[in-house]
């Protein structure tokens, strides 16, 4: 009994560093920052300042953000459901292209997509209808909907997977009226649609790239950009920024709570029993035509316009060097930051996921933390770090270390979600079997863990690397003087309308990303030959 009690105590204690880390990276900075409206003295400047003068602007930003988030989610969800239907329920030659397109849109920074459109539509005659539509709220909705689509498709696929299996078959057999069958399936899709709506809604609230490019260009106040302005324009007002952050966190928190409620209430719909894999019918006739048109629209709007426009712009002649030295340095800075931060974040996420696999309580906590993190935009966390680590006992503000910590903190939850399915397959019994059969830790690591984990860890690293390389909100607030990151440099060029240099730098960044992904793909290459023999 004593041994069991000691083991339980040890297990509890081994979770302590995780809690400590979580407290240090999330709870303490956020509490301190968000407490500013109540306790302004907690701020570095102790200023309450000019917030009152800007309250009408803030109210407008809140209203605009709310409207845009609702409209974008309403636009994205039907499209997401239809694309998810193609991926889950149909055999179609376009499915690979669709998957690749969605991944690329997910990875491509929103401000680069916005820049591509800005350049292209800027070339149209001034005052034309298309310019009028794009350089206004509908343009922002289009860009946000494109960025939200991959998330929505991901959520909707879960729903279609459930309906595409036996539950859908049961409806096809037992419900004779077509409209009743459709209503039933629609009803089954509602939780998924709700989850997709919430996810896109939160993404819109938090997207800084589009707000800082097209939003700033058309002077459309949005919460996320208003927070940034409070933190970077003189006089700096942390309290007003914190007050606006509360709105963002509250709106996102409400949405996440709704998402959790939907998940809890309708879990059975998505994890109902074991779903037998059934053959998917092929796309025919009008359905295939609609699918092709939809995919073409997605490829054109989501990839071709931004990427080809950037390429065309980059090819325009410009006096002097291809890229000024100072501009190119930002790419080197970000590549270094991204390499270090992605490695740390992947290691931390893998450790947390593996640890959580052994403890139901920790797994639950990790779910809550990763979902809770959705409610905290990178910009708010960055602002919280400015205050929390800008004092005499933690003088980290302005150092590369804090920037890397910020990157790790903002990307680890996403990586935990990404790695959970892969590491979940690495059942604890596999390691236990190795232990029971006398494999020491080094051999277990070499023969069991590394072969099984190399691929997901490398892909996780690629995902984190490409996102951190172009990261904007945390970079804007935490970058050390003289070491400008890529995102900050690109945004600066965009706001100065220096599109040629911006396009060249962005293309160089994309090439660095592709090179990193290529190396990872080569390392993770799946040799389909026989398993390697262990040396005696």
């Amino acid at each position: 009994m004593n041994v069991l009690a000691r083991a339980a105590r040890l297990r509890t204690l081994s979770g302590a560093p995780i809690l400590l880390l979580f407290g240090l990276l999330f709870v303490y900075p956020l509490l301190r920052f968000l407490a500013l409206p109540l306790f302004p003295s907690l701020g570095p400047l102790g200023a309450v300042g000019v917030a009152a003068q800007q309250s009408s602007l803030s109210a407008q930003a809140i209203l605009n953000t709310l409207q845009l988030a609702l409209i974008t989610a309403a636009v994205s969800v039907p499209a997401g459901i239809l694309f998810a239907f193609l991926l889950e329920c149909r055999t179609w030659s376009g499915n690979r292209v669709l998957t690749a397109t969605l991944w690329l849109i997910f990875v491509l920074p929103s401000y680069l997509i916005a820049t591509g459109f800005q350049i292209l539509l800027g070339a149209f005659p001034r005052g034309s209808l298309i310019q009028h539509l794009f350089f206004s709220a509908p343009g922002i909705v289009l860009l946000l909907a494109l960025k939200g689509l991959p998330f929505c498709v991901l959520a909707a696929r879960t729903g279609w997977r459930a309906i595409g299996g036996e539950i859908g078959d049961a409806a096809r057999i037992h419900i004779h009226d077509a409209w009743r069958r459709r209503m039933l399936l629609l009803r089954l899709l509602l939780p998924t649609a709700g989850a997709g709506f919430v996810i896109v809604f939160v993404e819109v609230l938090q997207d800084f790239g589009i707000a800082a490019t097209l939003g700033a260009q058309i002077h459309l106040p949005l919460i996320i950009y208003a927070i940034y302005k409070q933190l970077t324009s003189m006089p700096i007002d942390f309290t007003a920024a914190a007050r606006l952050s509360w709105w963002l966190v509250l709106l996102a928190g409400l949405a996440v709570a709704l998402h959790l409620m939907i998940l809890l209430r309708y879990t059975s719909a998505s994890i109902h029993g074991r779903q037998r894999e059934v053959a998917r019918p092929a796309c025919h006739g009008a359905e295939a035509l609609a699918a092709t048109l939809g995919l073409a629209a997605l490829v054109v709007l989501g990839l071709a316009v931004p990427v080809l426009t950037l390429l065309a712009e980059a090819a325009l002649p410009l006096k002097g060097a291809f890229l000024p030295h100072g501009v190119l340095t930002s790419l080197g800075n970000s590549a270094a930051y991204a390499g270090i931060a992605a490695t740390l974040a992947v290691g931390l996420a893998a450790g947390l996921t593996a640890r959580a696999g052994r403890s139901g309580r920790l797994r639950h906590a990790l779910d809550v933390i990763t979902l809770g993190n959705m409610a905290v935009p990178g910009l708010v966390l960055g602002a919280a770090y400015v205050i929390a680590f800008n004092n005499e006992w933690a003088p980290l503000y302005g150092t590369p270390l804090l920037l890397v910590v910020g990157y790790v903190a903002t990307h680890t939850p996403m990586l935990v979600r990404f790695l959970q399915p892969a590491l979940g397959q690495l059942h604890i019994n596999l390691a236990d079997a190795g232990r029971v059969h006398g494999l020491g830790f080094p051999r277990r690591l070499r023969r069991i863990h590394i072969p099984l984990l190399t691929k997901p860890l490398l892909w996780g690293w690629c995902l984190a690397f490409s996102q951190i390389l172009f990261e904007l909100p945390v970079s804007e607030l935490l970058y050390p003087a003289g070491r400008t990151p890529l995102g900050v440099q690109l945004l600066g060029l965009d706001q100065n309308l220096n599109y040629v240099t911006e396009a060249r730098l962005a293309i160089c960044g994309i090439l660095v990303c592709l090179a990193a992904i290529g190396v990872a793909a080569w390392l993770a290459a799946d040799d389909s030959g026989p398993a390697p023999q262990e040396r005696p």
Binding site: G165, E166, I167, D169, A170, A171, R172, I173, H174, I175, H176, D177, A178, R180, R181, L184, R187, L188, Y266, T267, S268, A269, H272, G273, R274, Q275, R276, V278, A279
Partner: protein
């Protein structure tokens, strides 16, 4: 009267031929069990009968009408085939109560719709759970709702897709009895897919055995047991094998040589130079002395009222298992009645010993 008939049915997924010329007839009120291993095509046949899959060759008829014929571009969708189907993982609609799940299978203007659904649930002994959602029920209770849903519209054909495989053994027995009883009572024909031999013995009027997309035996359970057509069917019906044997004759009697010893066997065995032999533990007779295979006891275990003895026989690598009323001695002579030895041509590529 034939209710369902499959005529030269073929199904191909891309380059893989899943079903080869399947011919099958199901009479009104008959209970047919489709049995086979994983990937044998049994579920594909069921799904084709339901209209959930379209066949790529041959045709399917239901109640005398063709419902799927790719050559004539004829296909009747599942909802119009008026069938009931029970799914392996219940497939209950999670947002509906049990009552609504069952009622949903009745057309909207059916008189006393909810009452009929409730009565069906009562017949399945889960009337008290009518207002609960499926996720609040046990697996057995969920499957009862699934059966109620399948039967409430009084279909003349019930399709069952491994309905017991997710359930505990004692619940399986109860549900087998319930389904058999209901099918008999209502005169419903049933087509059940399974890989569990118990389903054959407890439920089937006839059995179709599928191997690699082909029906290798279509017979009553009795025939299946007494004259298994293939090694797979022999194993499935409880025989052990395949022991290597060669055809032989001694003193004018035909038989086989097993482990170098002559055993009389039915003369109608195939004329292949090499054979594999199968026999059941309960058919082996062990005596302390006399004719037969000299065997040494390797080990024995007590199982469900009898001893299972495992014998080592010279010349055979695998042990022979016999079922004994008393704990056996260390040595014995084993004989097997000649009509209880099942012989098949030896197939080096596919055969293996299974006790």
């Amino acid at each position: 009267m034939t209710l369902l008939h499959l005529e030269n049915v073929q199904k191909r997924y891309d380059q893989i031929q899943v079903l080869h010329d399947i011919g099958l007839q199901l009479a009104t009120g008959e209970f047919l069990v489709l049995i086979g291993g994983s990937g044998s095509g049994k579920t594909t046949i069921l799904r084709a009968a339901a209209g959930l899959e379209r066949v790529t060759g041959g045709r399917i008829g239901l109640r005398g009408d063709i419902v799927d014929d790719p050559r004539a571009s004829l296909f009747v969708p599942p909802a119009q085939r008026r069938l009931g189907m029970v799914f392996q993982d219940y497939a209950l609609w999670p947002h509906l109560s049990c009552l609504d799940n069952v009622a949903a299978a009745l057309p909207p203007r059916t008189p006393n719709r909810l009452k009929r659904a409730q009565e069906m649930l009562e017949r399945m002994q889960i009337g008290a759970l009518a207002q609960r959602r499926p996720q609040h029920l046990s697996g057995g209770q969920q499957q009862r709702v699934g059966i109620a849903r399948a039967l409430v519209a009084q279909p003349d054909l019930l399709l069952l897709d491994e309905p017991f495989s997710s359930l505990d053994p004692h619940i399986r027995d109860q549900l087998r009895n319930d389904i058999r009883g209901l099918a008999r009572e209502t005169g419903t024909a049933s087509l059940l897919v399974s890989h569990d031999p118990t389903d054959v013995w407890r439920l089937a009027d006839r059995v179709a055995v599928l191997e690699a997309g082909r029906i290798t035996q279509l017979a009553t359970p009795e025939i299946l047991f007494t004259r298994p057509a293939t090694p797979h069917v022999a194993r499935f019906s409880g025989a052990q094998g395949g022991f290597p044997a060669v055809p032989a004759a001694e003193n004018g009697a035909s038989g086989i040589r097993l482990g170098g010893i002559f055993l009389p066997a039915r003369p109608d065995h195939p004329g292949a130079p090499e054979l594999t032999a199968y026999f059941r533990p309960e058919d082996i007779i062990s005596r302390p002395a006399g004719p037969g295979l000299p065997a040494a006891l390797a080990h024995c275990v007590f199982e469900a009222g009898a001893w299972l003895a495992y014998w080592r026989v010279a010349g055979l690598t695998a042990l022979i298992c016999s079922r004994e009323a008393q704990k056996p001695g260390s040595d014995a002579r084993l004989t097997i009645p000649e009509d209880k030895i099942f012989l098949y041509p030896h197939d080096k590529g596919s055969d293996r010993y299974v006790a």
